[in-house]
Symmetry: C2
Subunit: 179 residues, 2 copies
């Protein structure tokens, strides 16, 4: 009887932490993406950011399905998003293209990371009502990471514009329906 | 008269944003520290993290002095801290020493970044009562960055222990008085 109670307790605890474990997995993949950039493995870094995007879909979904949404989970999610969809894609595109432009290249990724942080801080203090105000950093990060695939196809100055436009949309008041 | 009113209004707005501007400056310096690591300029990266620590002292102090503490400022501060005192020092010590250990070196900095994120998320959802529970990531980040200065003096495996011990203390219940 005691054993069954313990199992039940453990299952409940695991359930309550499932979404947070996925969030931390997301953070881990984002940090590994940065390690890959440091080691010059840009394509591998792209795939890790791609995995982050997949896991990011799951953690929120699981939290809502199991009804285990928490303030702690929301905070953790934003912190992880800044790394996986802010820092990692910014440095991926910097190492792939923007480093060629010297200081302006650095300034553009700094603007992207700053706008991402402001977007996340703003999101954390507002009640969610079914739609996002401003482009979510998760989407912006996916666009930046996907743009890496077009590095050999497009003129390189276009990537500066892309980063700037995404930064602007993160801070804009554009309303985006959550799916 | 109108002119004086405008000046007064602008001064008030600048005052209310002063702490947030310092926080964003902190984030900028942290992101530049990562750029330096990418470019192999580890010593320069150390100095940028050192500047982050200086600015981090100021923004909270200014917010309290001008009585402009806000929930948005608190959120922004945590997001910036994760980059300037989590990601930046972790990758500095990785590139300086821990890369030598291969996969274990990567695992240790991942543990550090994950513990830092959990520490910050926990801090964000608790009311501050004059003391911190768990080592603040700002202090942990300073220790990791300072340890860079001893890379040529100490056996390299000690840096793995340092990172692990700091990670443990960030999640511990040790109480640290705020100064």
């Amino acid at each position: 009887m005691y054993f069954l109670e313990r199992v039940d307790h453990t299952v409940k605890r695991m359930k309550s932490q499932a979404a947070n474990v996925l969030t931390l997995l997301n953070l881990t993949l984002g940090a590994i993406a940065i390690v890959c950039i440091l080691n010059g493995q840009l394509e591998l870094s792209f795939w890790f950011i791609f995995l982050c995007a997949l896991f990011d879909r799951f953690d929120g979904m699981i939290a809502r399905k199991l009804q285990i949404e928490s303030e702690f989970g929301k905070q953790l999610d934003s912190l992880c998003d800044l790394i996986s969809f802010g820092v990692a894609p910014a440095f991926l595109i910097y190492e792939a293209v923007l480093f060629e432009f010297g200081l302006p290249g650095i300034v553009f990724i700094l603007i992207y990371i700053i706008c991402g942080a402001i977007r996340l801080a703003r999101f954390n203090i507002t009640e969610f009502e079914g739609h996002f105000t401003g482009l979510p950093i998760t989407l912006a990060g996916c666009f930046v990471a996907l743009s890496y695939l077009t590095v050999d196809l497009l003129p390189h100055y276009l990537f500066m514009f892309l980063v700037l436009i995404l930064s602007f949309f993160m801070l804009s008041n554009v309303s985006i329906q959550k799916r």
